[in-house]
């Protein structure tokens, strides 16, 4: 049995639709999630991408860093000892998968910095009836963050 992320991710080609990914009796989690969490099912392709991302030498530490506090690309570049392009590409892919979000951080100098925060909280992967199924739990922003976003967009 192959257990590494890269190996099994290559096997995942089945497309999963939002609807048939889970039936009610297979999602006991739903009742345990607090209302600050939101769930979304992943398509097979997205799951493969995420598995590849987590196997990547930069993406995993990157996600770990920005799950603690939002960080800008220059900060991440220093922290991960990676090139700016490397960090930017990882952030871009993560953004497309809705695993990170950008926040505007006001700077005293005048130019606002764009900081990135992880919205990923949990990935559940199950193998059943010949196909892998995955569900992502996102940490959700609360009213305070939304008010701040609203205010900074004015």
């Amino acid at each position: 049995m192959q257990t590494t992320a890269v190996n099994w991710s290559n096997q995942l080609t089945t497309q999963l639709s939002q609807q048939d990914a889970y039936t009610d009796d297979e999602t006991p989690y739903a009742t345990f999630y607090s209302d600050t969490m939101s769930d979304s099912s992943l398509s097979g392709d997205q799951l493969t991408t995420i598995a590849d991302l987590l196997a990547d030498e930069y993406t995993k530490p990157l996600l770990e860093e920005i799950s603690r506090e939002p960080m800008t690309i220059p900060e991440l570049t220093t922290q991960l000892d990676a090139s700016r392009t490397t960090v930017y590409r990882r952030i871009q892919t993560l953004s497309e998968l809705d695993l990170v979000e950008s926040q505007i951080r006001p700077e005293p100098g005048g130019t606002d910095a764009k900081a990135y925060a992880a919205t990923l909280s949990e990935i559940t992967i199950t193998l059943e009836s010949g196909s892998f199924e995955a569900e992502v739990t996102h940490t959700d922003t609360d009213a305070v963050d939304r008010l701040n976003q609203l205010w900074s967009d004015l």
Partner: protein, 108 residues
Amino acid sequence: MVLESTLYGYRIVALIAGVFAAGSAAVGLYIGYLALRSYYRHEDPSMRYLSIGLILITSVTYSLSFVGSVLIQLRLISLPKQDVLWILTHFIQFTGLICIMYALYRRD
């Protein structure tokens, strides 16, 4: 007219107005509190003025007019004093709006 009738000696219309005034005061205070928490979380100084402004134009003024209407209902204040309260309410509302305008303009 049902609005003009009384309930336990209070005019229905005043009671309804009082309920909405209290509701506005509570909701205004809550939004102001969210803005204040946003200020502490994101440290955007303009957020503090937005918070103060919101609390002033909603919570403080509604509370003041609510207290005022109760005092009038109970006949505890005279009409000239009611005028003072009226001016004070509008002054606080004005101050709150100035706070919000200042918050908008002091942003970087």
